[in-house]
């Protein structure tokens, strides 16, 4: 029964099985090659190659995903072993240069949407496994992605990346013995290299390079979402989270009483992090606790520490309405409380406590609601939450089509004021910008 659960999961499972079992030569693989394929598959998962190189409807690693950047759109490439359209004709050295240095035999200099500055640290051992995996176990797709990268001048000149690379791409492969699952720097390796957490969570300078001095201190705009500070700072970062909470978050996208993953982080959980072994997840959590604490300017209270809803008398939940036909058909109210009670409280409950099992999470003790920046709260209301986890499919519907900008502003403000950070101010411009940004 479960296999029929939905179209998308059928496709995902089918695709996964497809590329795991595919053997282009039809020859039996030697045991050591099988081990390498397995290892390479794990590295590809941990590095989340799929998130960018596969579209929702497309074949695994066939590329075609459009990444919107401030300079135009960048389209991910076909990295299947197609000789004509993918990496099929590449030597291992060429493959390694593309992954570590952003230098492609077909395209020349890659744009750093490909996180090669992080992958530069990939160990030789893992690089070999990754190469074997992509050349031997991935099904070739004999097709170029339909959309083409289109950047504005001067960013459309790939050669310009040479200077950029000299400045910002200087990483060296981590030694095999340090980076293996029982290696001395496994956690750092996972965070910095494979999971490339800094790609989203480290702020960038004006040349779009990660500011290494602010490692994991947060990035205010990842496709409209804020990638928060995840340094070990007790107030601004995740210093107040237990290792168990970090692990639960990485695995299922939810740490009760702390935060839930949505947007690009939900994708990271869905496509990558939930596949990590328990020992790797622990290594990540342990390492994150050691990352240099960086505090956000002026922040004195952790986002998740707003744990009390403003007391509201139950009587306010029960109110008479105008029952004239026109009033009953008019859905344009911008009364945040009325909107919250009738559009949100069925799941999140009238006092924002969520359900007892936190299947519907609390809005109190919630990093998004306790933040000073309203963006993730507004994004969640506009576009909802959607992530496959090892613990089921988590879904909140988006309200962009059903509520106006004014109404979403009112709900977000009501939620922040009553369940979170009263200093959080939501303006209609926040909502307008985010609605347009994601179009």
């Amino acid at each position: 029964m479960k296999a029929f659960s939905s179209f998308s999961s059928v496709l995902t499972i089918g695709a996964a099985v497809g590329y795991l079992l595919y053997s282009p030569t039809g020859l039996a693989q030697s045991p050591s090659e099988q081990d390498l394929v397995k290892q390479g598959d794990y590295i590809a998962r941990a590095s989340d190659c799929m998130a960018c190189h596969t579209t929702k409807e497309g074949k695994p690693f066939a590329g075609g995903l459009v990444l919107k950047t401030p300079f135009g759109k960048i389209v991910s490439s076909n990295i299947t072993p197609s000789k004509k359209f993918g990496i099929g004709g590449w030597t291992e050295t060429q493959f390694a240069n593309a992954v570590r240095k952003g230098s492609s035999p077909r395209l020349g200099h890659l744009y750093p949407a490909m996180p090669y500055t992080a992958y530069a640290g990939l160990s030789d051992r893992d690089m070999h496994a990754l190469y074997v995996y992509f050349t031997k176990a991935v099904e070739p797709v004999e097709k170029e992605p339909e959309t083409k990268t289109a950047l504005s001048f001067p960013y459309n000149i790939r050669f310009a990346m040479v200077g950029w690379n000299m400045l910002y791409a200087s990483g060296r492969p981590m030694a095999d013995n340090e980076s293996t699952p029982d290696g001395s720097r496994r956690g750092e390796y996972l965070v910095k290299v494979l999971a490339h957490c800094g790609t989203c969570h480290t702020p960038r300078n004006k040349f779009m390079a990660e500011k290494s001095s602010d490692f994991l201190a947060g990035n205010p705009n990842i496709q409209g979402w804020v990638a928060p500070n995840i340094t070990s700072d007790n107030i601004s970062g995740i210093g107040g989270w237990s290792e168990e909470e970090i692990i639960a978050y990485l695995k299922n996208g939810a740490a009760h009483g702390k935060a839930q993953a949505a947007g690009p982080m939900a994708e990271a959980v869905e496509y990558s992090l939930r596949y990590l072994t328990d020992s790797d997840l622990k290594a990540v959590a342990t390492y994150l606790k050691t990352v240099k604490p960086i505090s956000n300017l002026g922040q004195t209270k952790a986002n998740h520490s707003y744990n009390q809803a403003i007391a509201v008398d139950s009587a306010v939940f029960d109110y008479p309405i105008d029952r004239s036909p026109l009033a009953m058909g008019a859905g344009s109210s911008i009364d945040g409380q009325r909107l919250y009670l009738n559009a949100c409280a069925t799941c999140h409950q009238p006092r924002g406590e969520g359900t007892e099992d936190q299947f519907y999470p609390s809005l109190t003790s919630n990093s998004v609601v306790g933040a000073k920046d309203p963006r993730n709260l507004v994004m969640a209301i506009l576009y909802g939450v959607d992530r496959q986890t090892n613990d089921g499919h988590v879904f909140m519907p988006g309200f962009a089509e059903q509520l106006s900008d004014e109404q979403i502003t009112a709900i977000a403000q009501y939620v922040a004021t009553n369940f979170g950070n009263p200093a959080l101010k939501v303006t209609i411009n926040d909502v307008k910008l985010l609605r347009n940004a994601s179009r």
Partner: protein, 530 residues
Amino acid sequence: MATQYDADVIVVGSGAIGSNAAYALASQGKSVIILEAGEWIPRWKIVENFRSSARKGNHDDPYPDAPWAPVSFSPGYIENTGSFAFLPGMLHLVGGTTWHWAAATWRLLPNDMQMKSLYGVGRDWPVTYDELEPWYVKAEYALGIAGSDTEDQSGLNPDTSYPPRSAPYPVPPEAETYYFQRLKARIEPEGYPFIHEPNARTNQPWDGRPGCSGNNNCMPVCPIGAMYSGDVHARHAQKAGAQILTDSTAFKLEKGEGGKIVAVHCRSAKGVDRRLTARYFIIASNGLETPKLLLMSDVANSSDLVGRNLMDHTGIGLQFLADEPLWPGRGQVQQGAIFRLRDGAFRSQHSAIKHALTNTVPNRAITEHLLKKNIVGPELDKQIRHMAARWVDISTVFEQLPHLENRVQPSTTRKTSNGIPMMKIHYDPDDYIKAAVPIAKQDFANFVQIMNGTVIEDNTGFQNRDHIMGTVIMGDNHRNSVVNHECRTWNHPNLFMATTGVFPSASVVNPTLTGIALALRSADIIAREV
């Protein structure tokens, strides 16, 4: 003759059936206008209207009852002249009446479509189950139907899957409630097959809808939008380019040369009229308003069958207290059906029978029952607690046959505030279903006995089931029917009906899914012609 049209296709009605047809056309690049008498109302507002109402048993109540677009329970909207008060709960708003259905989405059985040739009663369909099957699949995936791929939905052959399907259900069946489990465990062994009811209350994320979390409020409104309602495809159609005109009640179809329909005239609440032209017209205004519009326009009626052959799954009910707590009211408002007599040779003699397990939180019904007996104070609380745990509610339906005299017509005496005739209905339950009543009542007695129960009510008389069929009936020639197997009117090649009103036979299962499947098929035919 004008060559400029306002749209390729105009769809009259934005309910589940019309909106699915409109979306199918718009997504193929056709220009589509949808006319809707009511308004867009966001879910939160309907939830508020419901929560603040004192009439929670009236499932039309949370919806605006505008004098120009009344809900069906509005006094005078339907005038009855027959022996039975035919009064289904119908709504006027974008998305239509599926805002408050319980989302049962059975397929017909192949035999349901061959009543005349197999059993010598009623009519055959001019389309076969096999022809309809791929469209059932499309409809099921559009709505995200939760269903069992392993059950025989005829109830006849356990351990087989029936009727035949070319694709699995998109969503697995929801877990069985304790109420269902206990009744099944005790009643099924006595010869009463319990079958999972396929339904459009998805239990996992589907097409922007969350999974059902058991608010037990399918009627009158799902507070979280897990249950499918027609506004989903109204929005999809709009996104695909269709234009939805609200406050636009169609009141006249205008005939042109060559038997074609050239325009539809619609009217606003304030009485402002508009004339809109199109290449094709789809009337999807439910099984009552659709024939009314045709009759008012004097179109498609060379057979004199428009509005006739009105059918519902006219039924009866049973309420009793079981000897053990069953905790009804958890999960969705209905789950499963008992099919001992869904199909068989007996259908030449009497109607098939479906017993459906109602699972609505029973406190309101119990309290009303106790108050009528003047039970008040602490005793009232005590008895509510006792009875609410043990309440069993069975909703039984029969298969009415088509009869010419059961009909809907425009009212000659009553109009909406903007001057559009309301309707008059004549409906008598027929001998075919009356012959099944004693059998159903024997089943009731058996259920009560098996559950060692105490009867609360086992003599309800006939009840409405809100499944309107037959009024623009489908057939194999222009003398015996209004539309052909494509749901195209015999008289007007560019006029299609998208409503359960086209059904030539009623079966005993909820008709909406079949209505959507037929409409998707019609839309496909139209798309190839415009």
